[in-house]
């Protein structure tokens, strides 16, 4: 190592202009170039595109201008962050040399590397963690506005169009936040170390996938200033065709995010398949790895479809095509199908890695082996396989294909079998263990509780006749919050506390983790437990005003939501204060047997001096029978 550094120091200015360019690019130049790109593309579009008039089919050019300038933003931003340097250099036949690669990996740069296009998977993991927290803060703020408006039956605190925009943005931004909340921070930081690799298979793609999401956030936030997303997170057509230009922000957000997911999916899948340590057979691969791979592998077929659906939606808005417009031969059902072909695998993209993380922690905190590893793998595989065959259960009541209701009911209810296996694994691991009660351990119980409620209510909803009464009501909202938040977020918060020592070198404050845990869990169950009952009584989803008979339930839900906010803010403080001056963490504070705990704190640049050789799985806890 030292010789390498001397070498780089002894040959300065070897390719000085280009290196200087790499060094100069960071998040600020990215935002600067992004804004310039947006402005340039706006004027280009204005100059080139033929003007529509009030009498045209498309009344104005505004959607074309907005979409074009957002594309300009993306190009400018990615140029400004330095994402294009690698490909250009490669095309010119002058690929990056060793020193430049070391610079890209963020070597010896301190805090600055977090603001750059850095390829080290650990830096990307921390970047994802911070981005996830920012997204949750935005989405959570919107949730509080929603609940505050719904505290009073008549609504009226917010204008209806503002309320609809907030509901839509809350929905889509939280979906994205929960998609990246486990595979982003922990899949990037922890997963490569856990499998005994020095980095990801494609480190530059790793940085690319992160910075694409950063580039996607301004378009969705700009939608608030462009009239908002008036359609809910699903953005059903033809409603989306009459939405204000804020809808274009949604379209660009999804397109960029889908690109990021595809890149990350290819990268993580390749890493796990090709770069596991010697001796880490599939039987010895930790279950969290399965969770992460299943998640990103599901995203691989799902998100291109989402991308496509939004491209067509944008064309309907900007060019007057009629993919989703019945009067032009299109169909809203086409959109619904494309959307839910992404939309249902996507909930498992969120759920599986969170459950996988808790399954990883269960043996650590019960000091016994994971119960039935094979069933855990089969459960994850079964859910992943079936999840691409169930999308139309979101469409039972759309009238699209009544004859397909029964087959889709079958595939949907079949999912309860592999899901049951995950329960079996968790409860079997808790059984006859030595419970070490920490916040992550308690989260396993919280997950069992929340996922049980979310799962059973899912069975009612999967039944076509019952869905006829419950679809589109607050019951559905409560159901998916129980799965995505009660299960997914619970797992992600536990993963945060569990892996915090390895990621930051400091322990997460114990008291704060417990305070946050109880506020979130109690608030969550109050808020969404009661929401089931207003749904059963007939309150539709996404309404800013409701009949007086639902007022008590909504009042309680609002109170619960404030408790969740309190808990999440306590967790936020826990992250900040523990990161800055928490107790220094030992190398392996949980006495776990997975590989990430065998590297020192802070984790060195390429993780392992000598690549490890694996001879058993990571679950050999318990006293062996002699």
């Amino acid at each position: 190592m030292t010789t390498m550094m001397e070498h780089s120091a002894s040959a300065p200015g070897h390719s000085a202009p280009k290196r200087a360019l790499i060094e100069r690019l960071n998040i600020f130049t990215a935002f600067g170039l992004g804004i310039i790109g947006a402005i340039v593309f706006w004027y280009l579009a204005k100059a080139i595109l033929p003007a529509n008039t009030d009498g045209s089919y498309i009344k104005s050019n505004r959607d074309q201008y907005v979409l074009f300038s957002m594309i300009g933003w993306l190009i400018g931003f990615m140029t400004g962050i330095g994402a294009l340097i690698g490909p250009f250099r490669w095309l010119l036949g002058k690929d990056l040399n060793h020193d430049e690669n070391m610079f890209y990996a963020g070597k010896d740069q301190g805090v600055k590397r977090y603001l750059r296009y850095t390829t080290d998977h650990k830096v990307v993991g921390i970047q994802y963690l911070v981005l996830t927290m920012i997204i949750f803060f935005v989405g959570g703020t919107l949730a509080m506005l929603i609940r505050t408006n719904l505290a009073h039956p008549g609504g009226g605190w917010l204008q209806p169009q503002t309320y609809n925009a907030i509901v839509g943005t809350h929905g889509i931004i939280m979906i994205v936040g929960t998609i990246i909340m486990v595979t982003g921070p922990f899949g990037n930081f922890i997963m490569p170390i856990m499998i005994g690799a020095r980095d990801m298979a494609f480190p530059r793609l790793n940085a690319l996938s992160f910075w694409l999401i950063v580039a996607a956030v301004p378009p969705i936030l700009s939608s608030f200033f462009l009239g908002g997303i008036s359609t809910g997170w699903v953005a059903y057509n033809p409603l989306a065709s009459q939405a204000p230009p804020g809808m274009d922000g949604y379209i660009m957000f999804i397109c960029i995010f889908a690109l990021s997911t595809m890149v990350a999916g290819a990268n993580i899948t390749t890493t796990v398949i090709k770069m596991r340590a010697k001796g880490m057979t599939w039987n010895r691969t930790p279950i969290f790895i399965y969770g992460v791979v299943a998640s990103v592998a599901l995203a691989l077929p799902a998100f291109p479809v989402f991308f496509l659906s939004q491209v067509m939606s944008g064309m309907d808005r900007a060019t007057g095509s009629t993919f989703y417009n019945t009067t032009g031969g299109g169909s809203g059902w086409l959109y619904e199908n494309l959307f839910w072909i992404m939309g249902h695998p996507e909930v498992y993209v969120i759920l599986i890695p969170a459950v996988g993380a808790l399954m990883e922690m269960a043996p650590v905190f019960t000091r016994r082996p994971l119960f039935s590893f094979n069933m855990a793998v089969m459960g994850i595989a079964g859910i992943s396989g079936l999840s691409v065959l169930v999308w139309a259960h979101h469409m039972y009541t759309t009238g699209w294909a009544p004859l397909l209701s029964a087959p889709f009911m079958l595939t949907t209810e079949l999912i309860s079998i592999p899901t049951g296996l995950l329960f079996l694994v968790l409860i079997g691991t808790l059984w006859r263990g030595r419970l070490w009660m920490t916040m992550p351990a308690a989260s396993i119980y919280a997950l069992l509780w929340n996922f049980m409620i979310g799962g059973i209510t899912g069975i009612y909803l999967s039944d076509v006749p019952v869905d006829g009464a419950l679809h589109g009501s607050m019951y559905v909202t409560a159901h998916f919050h129980y799965t995505l938040m009660g299960t997914g977020l619970t797992g992600a918060l536990a993963a945060l506390v569990f892996w915090f020592p390895k990621m930051t070198g400091r322990m997460f404050d114990k008291t704060l983790s417990w305070v946050g845990f109880w506020f979130v869990q109690i608030g969550f169950n109050i808020a969404f437990g009661v929401m089931f009952f207003v749904g059963l009584a007939g309150q539709p989803r996404r309404v800013d005003a409701y009949a007086a008979l639902f007022s008590r339930g909504n009042m309680i839900t609002t109170g619960g939501a404030y408790l969740i906010m309190t808990g999440m803010l306590v967790m936020l403080y826990g992250v900040i204060s523990s990161w800055r001056h928490g107790a220094l963490a030992p190398m392996n504070p949980w006495f776990s047997k997975t590989l990430e705990w065998t590297v020192p704190n802070p984790v060195p640049l390429e993780n392992f001096d000598v690549l490890p050789v694996v001879t058993s799985d990571a679950y050999g806890y318990g006293k062996a029978k002699s």
Partner: protein, 229 residues
């Protein structure tokens, strides 16, 4: 220990204040937050007896240059709009007489149901002084349609079409000197929150022009609150 919990408490207070601040700002940023209170006008004999009588005056404009959105037309000067105010407050159990001056042109309405007058006393309205029960569906500019939530309270459904001003009479700039004047009366029930909007598709979009001004409160829609007198 105490320091940490104090820090957490501080974060909660700061975070909640930030969220409350954002909420207050978003809630106050309304396109039209003013409310027009109905003017008392004695009493009136109706099929339901002698009731207190109130009046409301409003207009429907082809753009936003008049009234509510300021002389510059606000953020969308080309949007059709009602004016001068789009939120109304009237007393419960009273007769409300609404007078609308309609300055906009129009065409065929998509649903004949809204070319007919619903929910007014006798199902009639005075259009330019003439009592009618419906108008020509080929020449409708806008409608004034009032509805509420389905709950135990008294229901209110009123819908009155506003006939279009012939294209020949619409000047290139400014408004026509001869707007159509539509007057109708209806009886309010108990107190409650209602909304009104226009049912003639006159906004943005392709499959049905219900976007833009049609989907933004403060233009072709607003609140209608019935309060106990």
């Amino acid at each position: 220990m105490n320091k940490r919990l104090l820090g957490a408490l501080g974060t909660v207070i700061v975070g909640a204040s930030v969220i409350a601040g954002i909420g207050t700002y978003v809630a106050s940023a309304k396109n039209d937050s003013r409310v027009l209170v109905a003017t008392a006008a004695g009493t009136m004999n109706t099929p339901q007896g002698n009731l207190p009588h109130y009046t409301l005056d409003m207009s429907a404009y082809p753009d936003s240059m008049a009234g509510t959105h300021g002389a510059s037309g606000g953020p969308h000067p080309d949007w059709v709009t009602y004016g001068p105010v789009t939120n109304f407050q009237v007393p419960a159990h009273s007769v409300i007489t609404v007078t609308i001056k309609q300055y906009d042109s129009g065409a065929r309405i998509t649903n004949d149901f809204f070319a007919t007058i619903h929910g007014t006393i006798d199902g009639t309205a005075l259009i330019n002084g003439k009592s009618v029960t419906s108008v020509d569906p080929e020449a409708v500019g806008h409608t004034f349609t009032l509805r509420g939530l389905s709950d135990a309270k008294t229901q209110l459904f009123v819908s009155v079409p506003l006939p279009s001003v012939p294209d020949a009479l619409v000047p290139d700039s400014g408004y026509t000197k001869t707007p159509n004047v539509v007057t109708f009366s209806f009886i309010t029930g108990g107190a409650g929150d209602y909304v009104w909007n226009c049912e003639y598709p006159c906004g943005d979009g392709t499959i049905a022009r219900f976007g833009g001004p049609m989907s933004t409160q403060g233009y072709m829609s607003g609140n209608f609150t019935v309060v106990n007198a």
